[in-house]
Amino acid sequence: MNKLILGRYFPGDSWLHRLDPRSKLIAGVAFIFIIFLADSLQAFALLWVFTLFVMRLSGVGFRTYVRGVRPLIWLILFATLMQMLFRTGGATFVDWGPITISEYGIINGFYVFCRFVLIIFFSTVVTLTTKPIDLTDGIGSLLRPLRKLKVPVDELALMLSISLRFIPNLMDETQRIMDAQRARGTQFGEGSLIQQMKTLVPIFLPLFASSLNRAEDMANAMEVRGYQSGTKRSTFRQLSWKRIDTASLFIMVVLAGVLLVVRTI
Protein backbone atom coordinates (compact mmCIF):
# COMPACT_ATOMS: atom_id res chain seq x y z
CA MET A 1 0.00 0.00 0.00
CA ASN A 2 2.74 2.40 0.97
CA LYS A 3 4.53 1.99 -2.32
CA LEU A 4 1.73 3.16 -4.56
CA ILE A 5 2.46 6.71 -5.64
CA LEU A 6 0.08 7.01 -8.56
CA GLY A 7 -3.20 8.40 -7.27
CA ARG A 8 -1.75 10.09 -4.24
CA TYR A 9 -1.77 13.80 -3.48
CA PHE A 10 1.28 15.71 -2.26
CA PRO A 11 0.31 19.04 -0.71
CA GLY A 12 2.14 21.97 -2.19
CA ASP A 13 1.76 25.37 -3.74
CA SER A 14 3.38 24.99 -7.13
CA TRP A 15 2.11 26.50 -10.33
CA LEU A 16 0.75 23.08 -11.23
CA HIS A 17 -1.06 22.75 -7.91
CA ARG A 18 -2.98 25.91 -8.70
CA LEU A 19 -4.17 24.82 -12.13
CA ASP A 20 -7.83 23.93 -12.54
CA PRO A 21 -8.30 20.17 -12.17
CA ARG A 22 -10.14 20.10 -15.48
CA SER A 23 -7.19 21.45 -17.46
CA LYS A 24 -4.91 18.93 -15.77
CA LEU A 25 -7.28 16.07 -16.54
CA ILE A 26 -7.61 17.10 -20.17
CA ALA A 27 -3.85 17.51 -20.47
CA GLY A 28 -3.33 14.09 -18.90
CA VAL A 29 -5.62 12.36 -21.37
CA ALA A 30 -4.23 14.38 -24.27
CA PHE A 31 -0.71 13.37 -23.33
CA ILE A 32 -1.54 9.69 -23.80
CA PHE A 33 -2.59 10.41 -27.38
CA ILE A 34 0.31 12.74 -28.03
CA ILE A 35 2.77 10.10 -26.97
CA PHE A 36 1.67 7.84 -29.79
CA LEU A 37 2.57 10.54 -32.27
CA ALA A 38 6.22 10.09 -31.39
CA ASP A 39 8.05 7.69 -33.66
CA SER A 40 11.62 8.89 -33.67
CA LEU A 41 14.42 9.30 -31.20
CA GLN A 42 14.21 13.09 -31.57
CA ALA A 43 10.50 13.00 -30.78
CA PHE A 44 11.09 10.95 -27.66
CA ALA A 45 13.92 13.20 -26.62
CA LEU A 46 11.52 16.13 -26.85
CA LEU A 47 8.88 14.30 -24.81
CA TRP A 48 11.42 13.43 -22.14
CA VAL A 49 12.55 17.02 -21.86
CA PHE A 50 8.95 18.18 -21.66
CA THR A 51 7.94 15.60 -19.06
CA LEU A 52 10.99 16.14 -16.89
CA PHE A 53 10.34 19.88 -17.02
CA VAL A 54 6.72 19.39 -15.90
CA MET A 55 7.86 17.05 -13.14
CA ARG A 56 10.32 19.64 -11.98
CA LEU A 57 7.51 22.25 -11.93
CA SER A 58 5.45 20.06 -9.57
CA GLY A 59 7.99 20.61 -6.81
CA VAL A 60 7.94 16.93 -5.91
CA GLY A 61 11.29 15.12 -5.86
CA PHE A 62 12.33 12.92 -8.79
CA ARG A 63 12.72 9.96 -6.47
CA THR A 64 9.02 9.97 -5.66
CA TYR A 65 8.23 9.54 -9.35
CA VAL A 66 10.67 6.69 -9.68
CA ARG A 67 8.98 5.01 -6.73
CA GLY A 68 5.72 5.42 -8.64
CA VAL A 69 7.09 3.43 -11.56
CA ARG A 70 8.54 0.69 -9.42
CA PRO A 71 5.38 -1.36 -8.77
CA LEU A 72 4.85 -1.62 -12.55
CA ILE A 73 8.44 -2.19 -13.55
CA TRP A 74 8.05 -5.91 -14.31
CA LEU A 75 5.14 -5.29 -16.59
CA ILE A 76 7.10 -2.59 -18.39
CA LEU A 77 10.21 -4.71 -18.75
CA PHE A 78 8.11 -7.61 -20.00
CA ALA A 79 6.55 -5.50 -22.74
CA THR A 80 9.94 -4.08 -23.67
CA LEU A 81 11.48 -7.52 -23.83
CA MET A 82 8.69 -8.83 -26.05
CA GLN A 83 9.47 -6.09 -28.54
CA MET A 84 13.17 -6.69 -28.40
CA LEU A 85 12.99 -10.44 -28.79
CA PHE A 86 10.31 -10.88 -31.39
CA ARG A 87 10.35 -7.84 -33.57
CA THR A 88 12.32 -8.16 -36.76
CA GLY A 89 13.66 -5.64 -39.28
CA GLY A 90 16.84 -3.74 -39.99
CA ALA A 91 20.11 -5.30 -39.02
CA THR A 92 19.72 -8.59 -37.18
CA PHE A 93 22.13 -9.15 -34.30
CA VAL A 94 20.97 -12.49 -32.97
CA ASP A 95 18.81 -15.08 -34.68
CA TRP A 96 17.67 -18.09 -32.66
CA GLY A 97 14.65 -19.41 -34.46
CA PRO A 98 11.65 -17.36 -33.32
CA ILE A 99 13.83 -15.24 -31.08
CA THR A 100 15.57 -12.49 -32.92
CA ILE A 101 17.25 -9.40 -31.68
CA SER A 102 17.12 -6.88 -34.43
CA GLU A 103 17.78 -3.19 -34.88
CA TYR A 104 14.06 -2.44 -35.07
CA GLY A 105 13.43 -4.64 -32.08
CA ILE A 106 15.82 -2.69 -29.91
CA ILE A 107 14.50 0.66 -31.06
CA ASN A 108 10.89 -0.37 -30.59
CA GLY A 109 11.65 -1.89 -27.22
CA PHE A 110 13.09 1.44 -26.19
CA TYR A 111 10.00 3.27 -27.48
CA VAL A 112 7.65 1.00 -25.55
CA PHE A 113 9.68 1.50 -22.40
CA CYS A 114 9.59 5.28 -22.85
CA ARG A 115 5.86 5.36 -23.52
CA PHE A 116 5.05 3.45 -20.34
CA VAL A 117 7.35 5.46 -18.13
CA LEU A 118 6.32 8.81 -19.63
CA ILE A 119 2.61 8.06 -19.24
CA ILE A 120 3.12 7.02 -15.62
CA PHE A 121 5.25 10.06 -14.89
CA PHE A 122 2.78 12.43 -16.46
CA SER A 123 -0.32 10.98 -14.80
CA THR A 124 1.57 10.97 -11.52
CA VAL A 125 2.16 14.68 -11.96
CA VAL A 126 -1.60 15.17 -12.33
CA THR A 127 -2.55 13.17 -9.23
CA LEU A 128 0.33 14.42 -7.10
CA THR A 129 -0.63 18.04 -7.65
CA THR A 130 -4.43 17.72 -7.46
CA LYS A 131 -6.45 16.98 -4.35
CA PRO A 132 -8.63 13.88 -4.81
CA ILE A 133 -11.69 15.99 -4.08
CA ASP A 134 -10.72 18.44 -6.82
CA LEU A 135 -10.16 15.57 -9.23
CA THR A 136 -13.66 14.37 -8.40
CA ASP A 137 -15.06 17.82 -9.06
CA GLY A 138 -13.12 18.01 -12.29
CA ILE A 139 -14.32 14.64 -13.51
CA GLY A 140 -17.86 15.49 -12.48
CA SER A 141 -17.70 18.75 -14.38
CA LEU A 142 -16.16 17.22 -17.51
CA LEU A 143 -18.73 14.43 -17.58
CA ARG A 144 -21.63 16.83 -17.14
CA PRO A 145 -22.75 16.52 -20.78
CA LEU A 146 -23.55 12.87 -20.01
CA ARG A 147 -26.48 14.12 -17.91
CA LYS A 148 -28.34 14.45 -21.17
CA LEU A 149 -28.03 10.69 -21.53
CA LYS A 150 -29.65 10.28 -18.07
CA VAL A 151 -26.34 9.36 -16.44
CA PRO A 152 -26.61 10.55 -12.81
CA VAL A 153 -23.30 12.42 -12.98
CA ASP A 154 -23.93 14.66 -9.96
CA GLU A 155 -24.99 11.76 -7.76
CA LEU A 156 -21.93 9.79 -8.78
CA ALA A 157 -19.65 12.74 -8.12
CA LEU A 158 -21.19 13.28 -4.67
CA MET A 159 -20.89 9.58 -3.91
CA LEU A 160 -17.26 9.62 -4.91
CA SER A 161 -16.50 12.71 -2.85
CA ILE A 162 -18.19 11.24 0.25
CA SER A 163 -16.25 8.00 -0.20
CA LEU A 164 -13.02 9.98 -0.40
CA ARG A 165 -14.01 11.88 2.71
CA PHE A 166 -14.48 8.67 4.70
CA ILE A 167 -11.37 6.78 3.54
CA PRO A 168 -9.19 8.12 6.38
CA ASN A 169 -11.86 7.17 8.91
CA LEU A 170 -12.08 3.71 7.47
CA MET A 171 -8.31 3.31 7.60
CA ASP A 172 -8.24 4.45 11.21
CA GLU A 173 -11.01 2.09 12.10
CA THR A 174 -9.29 -0.85 10.41
CA GLN A 175 -6.09 -0.06 12.24
CA ARG A 176 -7.93 0.19 15.54
CA ILE A 177 -9.77 -3.09 15.15
CA MET A 178 -6.58 -4.85 14.02
CA ASP A 179 -4.75 -3.52 17.06
CA ALA A 180 -7.58 -4.62 19.32
CA GLN A 181 -7.56 -8.16 17.95
CA ARG A 182 -3.78 -8.36 18.06
CA ALA A 183 -3.99 -7.34 21.70
CA ARG A 184 -6.35 -10.30 22.13
CA GLY A 185 -3.71 -12.64 20.74
CA THR A 186 -4.45 -12.76 17.01
CA GLN A 187 -1.31 -13.13 14.92
CA PHE A 188 -1.64 -11.97 11.36
CA GLY A 189 0.32 -13.47 8.51
CA GLU A 190 1.14 -16.72 10.26
CA GLY A 191 0.17 -20.34 9.76
CA SER A 192 -1.54 -21.95 6.77
CA LEU A 193 -3.64 -20.06 4.28
CA ILE A 194 -6.85 -21.24 5.99
CA GLN A 195 -5.59 -20.06 9.35
CA GLN A 196 -4.69 -16.71 7.86
CA MET A 197 -8.14 -16.39 6.34
CA LYS A 198 -9.62 -17.13 9.73
CA THR A 199 -7.79 -14.24 11.34
CA LEU A 200 -9.53 -11.89 8.91
CA VAL A 201 -13.01 -12.67 10.25
CA PRO A 202 -12.49 -10.74 13.51
CA ILE A 203 -11.40 -7.76 11.39
CA PHE A 204 -13.95 -7.71 8.64
CA LEU A 205 -17.05 -8.52 10.64
CA PRO A 206 -16.69 -5.58 13.04
CA LEU A 207 -15.59 -3.34 10.19
CA PHE A 208 -18.66 -4.29 8.23
CA ALA A 209 -20.95 -3.74 11.21
CA SER A 210 -19.50 -0.32 11.95
CA SER A 211 -19.63 0.72 8.29
CA LEU A 212 -23.31 -0.11 8.19
CA ASN A 213 -23.88 2.02 11.27
CA ARG A 214 -21.88 4.82 9.79
CA ALA A 215 -23.80 4.64 6.54
CA GLU A 216 -27.09 4.89 8.41
CA ASP A 217 -25.89 7.87 10.43
CA MET A 218 -24.67 9.58 7.29
CA ALA A 219 -27.88 8.96 5.42
CA ASN A 220 -29.85 10.48 8.29
CA ALA A 221 -27.51 13.45 8.54
CA MET A 222 -27.83 14.08 4.80
CA GLU A 223 -31.57 13.76 4.84
CA VAL A 224 -32.19 16.17 7.70
CA ARG A 225 -30.05 18.70 5.89
CA GLY A 226 -32.37 18.45 2.94
CA TYR A 227 -30.61 16.07 0.59
CA GLN A 228 -32.99 14.47 -1.92
CA SER A 229 -31.52 12.48 -4.74
CA GLY A 230 -32.61 13.59 -8.17
CA THR A 231 -33.19 17.22 -7.25
CA LYS A 232 -31.03 19.98 -8.55
CA ARG A 233 -28.22 21.06 -6.25
CA SER A 234 -25.78 23.92 -6.49
CA THR A 235 -22.13 23.43 -5.59
CA PHE A 236 -20.14 25.42 -3.10
CA ARG A 237 -16.78 24.22 -4.34
CA GLN A 238 -16.19 26.30 -7.42
CA LEU A 239 -13.85 25.43 -10.21
CA SER A 240 -12.40 28.44 -11.91
CA TRP A 241 -10.89 28.24 -15.34
CA LYS A 242 -8.13 30.81 -15.57
CA ARG A 243 -6.06 32.12 -18.41
CA ILE A 244 -3.20 29.95 -17.28
CA ASP A 245 -5.38 26.87 -17.81
CA THR A 246 -6.05 27.86 -21.39
CA ALA A 247 -2.34 28.56 -21.78
CA SER A 248 -1.40 25.10 -20.52
CA LEU A 249 -3.76 23.43 -22.93
CA PHE A 250 -2.29 25.58 -25.69
CA ILE A 251 1.14 24.25 -24.76
CA MET A 252 -0.21 20.71 -25.18
CA VAL A 253 -1.49 21.62 -28.62
CA VAL A 254 1.89 23.08 -29.54
CA LEU A 255 3.56 19.91 -28.30
CA ALA A 256 1.27 17.79 -30.46
CA GLY A 257 1.92 20.09 -33.41
CA VAL A 258 5.68 19.86 -33.08
CA LEU A 259 5.49 16.08 -32.88
CA LEU A 260 3.35 15.95 -36.01
CA VAL A 261 5.89 18.07 -37.84
CA VAL A 262 8.80 15.95 -36.67
CA ARG A 263 6.84 12.88 -37.77
CA THR A 264 6.45 13.91 -41.39
CA ILE A 265 10.09 14.79 -41.83
Partner: protein, 287 residues
Protein backbone atom coordinates in the same frame (compact mmCIF):
# COMPACT_ATOMS: atom_id res chain seq x y z
CA UNK B 1 1.19 -11.36 40.05
CA UNK B 2 3.30 -8.33 40.61
CA UNK B 3 4.24 -6.56 37.44
CA UNK B 4 6.38 -3.53 37.07
CA UNK B 5 6.45 -1.29 34.05
CA UNK B 6 9.55 0.64 33.13
CA UNK B 7 10.27 2.79 30.11
CA UNK B 8 13.84 3.66 29.42
CA UNK B 9 14.37 6.42 26.85
CA UNK B 10 11.60 5.16 24.59
CA UNK B 11 11.13 6.90 21.24
CA UNK B 12 8.74 5.77 18.53
CA UNK B 13 7.15 6.99 15.33
CA UNK B 14 4.17 6.00 13.23
CA UNK B 15 3.91 5.35 9.57
CA UNK B 16 0.46 5.37 8.12
CA UNK B 17 0.38 5.62 4.36
CA UNK B 18 2.63 8.43 3.14
CA UNK B 19 2.49 10.29 6.41
CA UNK B 20 5.30 9.59 8.78
CA UNK B 21 4.68 11.28 12.05
CA UNK B 22 8.08 11.91 13.45
CA UNK B 23 8.49 10.75 17.00
CA UNK B 24 5.03 10.42 18.48
CA UNK B 25 7.02 9.44 21.54
CA UNK B 26 10.38 10.93 22.40
CA UNK B 27 12.66 9.79 25.18
CA UNK B 28 9.97 8.63 27.53
CA UNK B 29 11.28 7.59 30.93
CA UNK B 30 8.73 6.15 33.26
CA UNK B 31 8.54 3.74 36.15
CA UNK B 32 5.17 2.47 37.30
CA UNK B 33 5.19 0.34 40.39
CA UNK B 34 3.21 -2.82 40.62
CA UNK B 35 -0.36 -2.54 41.88
CA UNK B 36 -0.83 1.19 41.26
CA UNK B 37 -3.70 2.84 39.45
CA UNK B 38 -2.28 5.57 37.19
CA UNK B 39 -4.15 8.11 35.14
CA UNK B 40 -2.55 9.23 31.88
CA UNK B 41 -3.64 12.70 30.81
CA UNK B 42 -2.65 15.29 28.24
CA UNK B 43 -4.06 17.00 25.15
CA UNK B 44 -5.10 15.08 22.02
CA UNK B 45 -2.04 14.03 20.09
CA UNK B 46 0.29 14.25 23.08
CA UNK B 47 1.20 10.58 22.77
CA UNK B 48 -1.09 8.93 25.31
CA UNK B 49 -2.40 6.28 22.95
CA UNK B 50 1.09 5.65 21.61
CA UNK B 51 2.33 5.07 25.13
CA UNK B 52 -0.36 2.45 25.66
CA UNK B 53 0.46 0.78 22.36
CA UNK B 54 4.11 0.38 23.28
CA UNK B 55 3.03 -1.42 26.45
CA UNK B 56 1.35 -4.00 24.28
CA UNK B 57 3.92 -4.33 21.54
CA UNK B 58 1.53 -2.76 19.05
CA UNK B 59 3.95 0.09 18.54
CA UNK B 60 7.62 -0.87 18.55
CA UNK B 61 10.12 1.61 19.98
CA UNK B 62 12.74 2.94 17.59
CA UNK B 63 15.01 3.65 20.51
CA UNK B 64 15.13 2.61 24.12
CA UNK B 65 13.45 -0.24 25.93
CA UNK B 66 10.12 -0.88 27.59
CA UNK B 67 10.29 -3.40 30.42
CA UNK B 68 7.05 -5.15 31.21
CA UNK B 69 7.68 -7.51 34.09
CA UNK B 70 10.64 -9.56 32.94
CA UNK B 71 9.96 -8.98 29.25
CA UNK B 72 11.78 -6.33 27.27
CA UNK B 73 10.37 -4.66 24.17
CA UNK B 74 12.88 -2.89 21.97
CA UNK B 75 13.66 -2.27 18.32
CA UNK B 76 14.14 -5.92 17.39
CA UNK B 77 12.12 -8.52 19.23
CA UNK B 78 11.41 -12.19 19.09
CA UNK B 79 7.78 -12.98 18.26
CA UNK B 80 7.25 -14.78 21.54
CA UNK B 81 8.01 -11.55 23.38
CA UNK B 82 4.88 -9.97 21.89
CA UNK B 83 2.79 -12.99 22.72
CA UNK B 84 4.06 -13.06 26.27
CA UNK B 85 3.52 -9.31 26.72
CA UNK B 86 0.03 -9.33 25.21
CA UNK B 87 -0.94 -12.18 27.49
CA UNK B 88 0.05 -10.12 30.52
CA UNK B 89 -1.21 -6.74 29.37
CA UNK B 90 -4.96 -6.46 28.84
CA UNK B 91 -5.85 -3.57 26.56
CA UNK B 92 -9.26 -1.92 26.47
CA UNK B 93 -9.33 0.44 23.50
CA UNK B 94 -11.65 3.39 23.09
CA UNK B 95 -15.11 2.18 22.12
CA UNK B 96 -14.03 -1.44 22.65
CA UNK B 97 -17.43 -2.72 21.51
CA UNK B 98 -16.21 -2.24 17.95
CA UNK B 99 -14.01 -5.32 18.34
CA UNK B 100 -16.91 -7.74 18.95
CA UNK B 101 -17.31 -10.22 16.12
CA UNK B 102 -18.23 -13.73 17.25
CA UNK B 103 -21.58 -15.46 16.93
CA UNK B 104 -22.19 -15.52 20.65
CA UNK B 105 -21.02 -13.48 23.60
CA UNK B 106 -19.42 -16.64 25.03
CA UNK B 107 -17.30 -17.19 21.93
CA UNK B 108 -16.28 -13.57 21.87
CA UNK B 109 -15.15 -13.57 25.47
CA UNK B 110 -13.28 -16.87 24.95
CA UNK B 111 -11.45 -15.52 21.88
CA UNK B 112 -8.60 -13.92 23.84
CA UNK B 113 -8.00 -16.72 26.34
CA UNK B 114 -8.07 -19.39 23.61
CA UNK B 115 -5.59 -17.44 21.48
CA UNK B 116 -3.26 -17.53 24.46
CA UNK B 117 -3.59 -21.26 24.84
CA UNK B 118 -6.32 -21.70 27.45
CA UNK B 119 -8.36 -24.88 26.75
CA UNK B 120 -11.96 -24.24 25.66
CA UNK B 121 -13.58 -25.76 28.75
CA UNK B 122 -11.48 -23.59 31.01
CA UNK B 123 -12.14 -20.51 28.89
CA UNK B 124 -15.87 -21.14 29.22
CA UNK B 125 -15.53 -21.14 32.99
CA UNK B 126 -13.56 -17.92 32.83
CA UNK B 127 -16.26 -16.36 30.67
CA UNK B 128 -19.10 -17.27 32.97
CA UNK B 129 -17.11 -15.96 35.92
CA UNK B 130 -16.17 -12.71 34.24
CA UNK B 131 -19.61 -11.95 32.84
CA UNK B 132 -20.93 -11.61 36.38
CA UNK B 133 -18.01 -9.42 37.32
CA UNK B 134 -19.09 -6.92 34.69
CA UNK B 135 -22.64 -6.98 36.00
CA UNK B 136 -24.38 -9.03 33.31
CA UNK B 137 -26.53 -12.16 33.59
CA UNK B 138 -25.34 -15.63 32.60
CA UNK B 139 -27.99 -16.03 29.90
CA UNK B 140 -26.41 -13.24 27.87
CA UNK B 141 -23.56 -15.63 27.00
CA UNK B 142 -25.65 -17.42 24.39
CA UNK B 143 -26.82 -14.21 22.69
CA UNK B 144 -25.27 -12.54 19.69
CA UNK B 145 -23.11 -9.58 20.70
CA UNK B 146 -24.69 -7.54 17.92
CA UNK B 147 -28.14 -7.84 19.52
CA UNK B 148 -27.10 -6.10 22.75
CA UNK B 149 -27.55 -2.50 23.82
CA UNK B 150 -24.60 -0.10 23.69
CA UNK B 151 -23.83 -0.34 27.38
CA UNK B 152 -24.03 -4.14 27.37
CA UNK B 153 -21.71 -4.37 24.38
CA UNK B 154 -19.17 -2.23 26.20
CA UNK B 155 -19.30 -4.56 29.22
CA UNK B 156 -18.96 -7.68 27.08
CA UNK B 157 -15.93 -6.19 25.34
CA UNK B 158 -14.32 -5.39 28.68
CA UNK B 159 -15.19 -8.88 29.93
CA UNK B 160 -13.32 -10.28 26.92
CA UNK B 161 -10.18 -8.54 28.13
CA UNK B 162 -10.64 -9.38 31.81
CA UNK B 163 -11.08 -13.06 30.88
CA UNK B 164 -7.46 -13.06 29.75
CA UNK B 165 -6.56 -12.48 33.39
CA UNK B 166 -4.05 -9.74 32.68
CA UNK B 167 -1.60 -8.50 35.29
CA UNK B 168 -1.61 -5.07 33.76
CA UNK B 169 -4.82 -3.46 32.58
CA UNK B 170 -4.66 -0.58 30.15
CA UNK B 171 -7.81 1.41 29.38
CA UNK B 172 -8.39 4.20 26.88
CA UNK B 173 -11.43 6.24 27.97
CA UNK B 174 -13.56 3.23 28.92
CA UNK B 175 -16.54 5.45 29.75
CA UNK B 176 -16.55 7.50 26.54
CA UNK B 177 -19.97 7.95 24.97
CA UNK B 178 -21.92 6.46 27.89
CA UNK B 179 -24.43 8.28 30.06
CA UNK B 180 -23.18 9.34 33.52
CA UNK B 181 -24.75 6.35 35.25
CA UNK B 182 -23.37 3.84 32.76
CA UNK B 183 -19.96 5.44 32.97
CA UNK B 184 -19.88 5.36 36.77
CA UNK B 185 -20.82 1.68 36.71
CA UNK B 186 -18.06 0.80 34.27
CA UNK B 187 -15.50 2.74 36.29
CA UNK B 188 -16.48 1.12 39.56
CA UNK B 189 -16.31 -2.39 38.11
CA UNK B 190 -12.82 -1.60 36.84
CA UNK B 191 -11.79 -0.27 40.23
CA UNK B 192 -13.12 -3.40 41.96
CA UNK B 193 -11.27 -5.66 39.57
CA UNK B 194 -8.10 -3.62 40.03
CA UNK B 195 -8.26 -4.04 43.79
CA UNK B 196 -9.30 -7.67 43.81
CA UNK B 197 -6.60 -8.81 41.40
CA UNK B 198 -3.97 -6.37 42.68
CA UNK B 199 -3.45 -5.31 39.11
CA UNK B 200 -1.35 -2.51 37.72
CA UNK B 201 -3.82 -0.26 35.93
CA UNK B 202 -3.33 2.58 33.49
CA UNK B 203 -6.26 4.76 32.51
CA UNK B 204 -6.20 7.33 29.73
CA UNK B 205 -8.82 9.97 30.40
CA UNK B 206 -9.80 13.58 29.80
CA UNK B 207 -12.05 13.65 32.81
CA UNK B 208 -10.46 15.07 35.96
CA UNK B 209 -13.25 13.56 38.05
CA UNK B 210 -11.99 10.12 37.01
CA UNK B 211 -8.46 11.11 37.93
CA UNK B 212 -9.56 12.40 41.33
CA UNK B 213 -11.78 9.43 42.12
CA UNK B 214 -9.77 6.45 40.91
CA UNK B 215 -6.11 7.20 40.36
CA UNK B 216 -3.19 6.90 42.78
CA UNK B 217 -0.78 8.55 40.41
CA UNK B 218 -0.99 10.97 37.49
CA UNK B 219 1.14 10.88 34.36
CA UNK B 220 0.98 14.03 32.22
CA UNK B 221 2.04 13.83 28.61
CA UNK B 222 2.89 16.64 26.24
CA UNK B 223 4.37 16.47 22.73
CA UNK B 224 5.27 12.82 23.08
CA UNK B 225 7.02 13.08 26.42
CA UNK B 226 6.09 12.48 30.01
CA UNK B 227 6.32 15.91 31.58
CA UNK B 228 5.05 14.97 35.01
CA UNK B 229 4.50 11.87 37.09
CA UNK B 230 3.16 12.50 40.56
CA UNK B 231 0.98 11.26 43.36
CA UNK B 232 -2.58 12.43 42.66
CA UNK B 233 -2.98 14.69 45.69
CA UNK B 234 0.30 16.48 45.03
CA UNK B 235 -0.76 16.84 41.45
CA UNK B 236 -3.99 18.68 42.28
CA UNK B 237 -2.40 20.85 44.97
CA UNK B 238 -0.81 23.24 42.49
CA UNK B 239 -3.71 24.84 40.66
CA UNK B 240 -1.56 27.39 38.83
CA UNK B 241 0.42 24.62 37.19
CA UNK B 242 -2.82 22.93 36.14
CA UNK B 243 -3.97 26.14 34.56
CA UNK B 244 -0.75 26.32 32.58
CA UNK B 245 -1.60 22.97 31.00
CA UNK B 246 -5.23 24.12 30.64
CA UNK B 247 -6.41 21.24 32.78
CA UNK B 248 -9.61 21.46 34.74
CA UNK B 249 -9.84 20.90 38.46
CA UNK B 250 -12.14 18.21 39.79
CA UNK B 251 -15.36 19.69 41.19
CA UNK B 252 -14.51 19.14 44.85
CA UNK B 253 -11.11 20.77 44.60
CA UNK B 254 -12.44 23.64 42.49
CA UNK B 255 -15.18 24.27 45.04
CA UNK B 256 -12.68 24.02 47.88
CA UNK B 257 -10.56 26.78 46.38
CA UNK B 258 -13.62 29.01 46.01
CA UNK B 259 -14.68 28.40 49.60
CA UNK B 260 -11.18 29.12 50.85
CA UNK B 261 -11.04 32.30 48.86
CA UNK B 262 -14.49 33.54 49.93
CA UNK B 263 -14.27 32.63 53.61
CA UNK B 264 -10.56 32.99 54.17
CA UNK B 265 -10.64 29.66 55.98
CA UNK B 266 -8.11 27.09 54.85
CA UNK B 267 -9.42 23.52 54.77
CA UNK B 268 -7.09 20.99 56.45
CA UNK B 269 -6.47 18.81 53.38
CA UNK B 270 -6.71 18.79 49.61
CA UNK B 271 -10.17 17.48 48.81
CA UNK B 272 -10.50 15.34 45.69
CA UNK B 273 -13.98 13.95 46.18
CA UNK B 274 -17.28 15.26 47.40
CA UNK B 275 -17.10 13.10 50.53
CA UNK B 276 -13.72 14.50 51.46
CA UNK B 277 -15.03 18.02 50.96
CA UNK B 278 -18.08 17.39 53.12
CA UNK B 279 -15.90 16.00 55.92
CA UNK B 280 -13.49 18.92 55.69
CA UNK B 281 -16.26 21.54 55.67
CA UNK B 282 -17.79 20.00 58.78
CA UNK B 283 -14.40 19.68 60.48
CA UNK B 284 -13.53 23.37 60.19
CA UNK B 285 -17.06 24.32 61.21
CA UNK B 286 -18.15 25.98 57.97
CA UNK B 287 -21.13 23.65 57.58
Amino acid sequence: MAMQVKFHNVAADYKLGPIRQSFVLQSVNLAISSGTFSAVIGPTGSGKSSLLKVLNGLLVPKQGQAHIGDQVIEKENDKHVYKEVRKRVGMVFQFPESQLFAETVLQDICFGPINFGVPFEEAKKLASDVIEQVGLEQDILTKSPFSLSGGQKRRVAIAGILAMNPDILVLDEPGAGLDPKGKAEIMSLILNWHRKKEMTTLLVTHDMEDVAHYADEVIVMENGSVVMHEEVRDFFSDDQRLEKWSLELPNARRFQLKVEQDTGVKLPNICLTKNELVEALIKVGLA
